[in-house]
Symmetry: C2
Subunit: 345 residues, 2 copies
């Protein structure tokens, strides 16, 4: 039990690095404030494929390929790939990664999938099961609308609390050596269900899960919000983000000064008509792997608590009157200090 330091947190005993990362985004994301940050921006919603689902698979394949290439590795060097997405039966990952021939663990954490993947990839690397492991996820506005809501050409009205599914993919290669950012702690979320039943208010449904995981992280580690340059959630949006800051304050934690949400960063909320902000597995996927990690390399933030937030509903569960359970997974990321070797060998 060397690494367990609390009910939900482990501290990695070996140096585990994010060795490389890559992000792919769509045209609407390119038009947003982070538009210049993505490695690849697709020319349109199809990217040469016959269906949006095939496009999303291609996004995952290319994101992983690019991350592996940027790491100076080949797919044979990757011990495990952890991939998942929002599509039924996770076909974005299943079809996207089939050509790469990497031992594959499919995961499903809704929009927390990117951090679930980094958590598990870090554990298998820290535990000595692989030298390198990859995490990947994606979402696509058109596949999500088709599957979860209404056909796009129906032109349904969106509620003010609704969020806009990000068309994007992110992949990170976690490694025992060579990286500018370390994963030091992993706090794994419990399923939280406060009874929210509105599938158009995901932020509100997921905020209690983010609260639970943040509180567990601080209690388990002894860190406080002040120990972070940035506390980042995946896709609570404006509604869920405000709820989280308020709930945290009630618990005695002030995160108002260093808190940001990827769903509020990726779009210009005033001009891009996305209502409460971005959402989807690809939201934190593309923002983390396209922007946050890059800025950590540059020295803008030294300590980041990255919290993926997922809503574990389905259209069927919603039609059957169920509430929307949420889950949030967190990893502590530390920039490797200048002069400090990032090579463990």
């Amino acid at each position: 039990m060397e690494q367990r330091i609390g009910k939900q947190t482990v501290e990695l005993k070996n140096p585990v690095y994010i060795r490389a990362f890559a992000a792919i985004a769509g045209t609407k994301e390119q038009e947003g404030p982070l538009g210049e940050c993505f490695d690849v921006t697709m020319p349109d919603s199809e990217w040469g494929e016959e269906t949006w689902e095939k496009t999303e698979s291609k996004m995952q394949k290319e994101a992983v390929r690019l991350a592996i290439q940027k790491a100076g590795l080949t797919s044979k060097d990757i011990g495990y790939a952890f991939g998942g997405d929002l599509l039924n039966q996770c076909i974005g990952a299943g079809f996207g990664l089939r050509e790469l021939k990497i031992p594959f663990f499919g995961i499903y954490g809704a929009c927390s999938t990117m951090i679930e993947g980094i958590s598990l990839a870090s554990m298998v690397v820290d535990g000595g099961f692989a030298q390198n492991a990859a995490a990947v996820t994606s979402s696509h506005f058109c596949t999500a609308e088709r599957q979860y809501r209404t056909p796009l050409n129906y032109g349904g009205q969106r509620t003010p609390t609704a969020q806009w599914t990000v068309t994007g993919s992110g992949s990170a290669v976690v490694s025992r050596e060579n990286g500018d950012v370390r994963v030091t702690h992993i706090t794994t979320g419990k399923i939280m269900d406060m009874g929210v039943k509105d599938p158009n208010n995901m932020g509100g449904a997921m905020a209690p899960a983010a609260l639970s995981t943040l509180c567990a992280h601080f209690q388990d580690t002894g860190y406080s919000p002040k120990d972070y340059d940035l506390i980042l959630t995946g896709d609570l949006g404006t509604v869920g983000g405000e709820i989280l800051v308020e709930l945290m304050e009630k618990e005695g934690y002030d995160i108002s000064k260093n808190y940001q949400d990827c769903g509020c960063m990726i779009y210009d909320l005033e001009k891009q008509d996305v209502h409460a902000g971005g959402s989807g597995c690809g939201c934190i996927g593309s923002v983390l792997c396209g922007y946050i990690l890059e800025e950590m390399q540059k020295g803008r933030w030294n300590t980041v608590l990255a919290v993926g937030t997922g809503a574990l509903l389905s259209p069927t569960s919603n039609l059957q009157g169920e509430s929307v359970p949420g889950i949030a997974h967190a990893v502590r990321l530390e920039a490797v200090k200048k002069g400090e070797s990032s090579c463990s060998i």
Copy 2:
């Protein structure tokens, strides 16, 4: 890289035990050859719930609860739960486990999910991230028919190669101590796609994945089929099972004498009208956790290679003309010899 002993296999360096296990099954499964083996048999398809999906969630909740109870533990002792199923967005696990308040990693490996869960649970225990971890999965004939095929009351004809989705759930508690069966090796599958496009021939689509993982296991470990009392696949059924034995023979491995498939064991294939056998996450889930592990305890088999087999398709991918990728994950199980302490502390 202590544990990696090949391209796809790790050897656990610490003793990791299956400390307890539990299985729940439906009425049709009770009428089969293993009918007496399950811990709980549901009285009907609903088990007191309003919808079959809620029934399936209940099956996972009760299977995990029972396994934890049989382990002499409470949910607070479980460091991580790994759960998934065939339902869209894995709501069987998401809703089933929400009350248990265990740090949760959602997984998706189609019908390989049980072995994916045992693999990851074993890794987090071996790696020192938790003292105990649980794996759980389920399937339900009625939810699967509704989601994947046709409404039950449509009465569609089934093809000869079609399999019958098992109504069942299995859960195992993996632990650093106290168990009669050890997990010693984990061979993680790659996604294999040989171009099979018939969603009514899952066995045929998954057989190449089982072949790939079995060959990798034998190459990585140096074991041969003779080193196993039982080589067990999840749900290849009669069609896929025959293909596997033949393909293995071409690769120089004779598994004809010690090979069995859970999909052929759980039903009386002559009398129960299930065509090519059972399938679904709950097939190997309930057979492994209801029968195989129990028989290993009794000394019937000392070494078992348990191979979960999954088809990573979705109804959407099928409608879009895609083939059916398969994946297979394997774990080597060894009965703890009499007189050998199963306590690592």
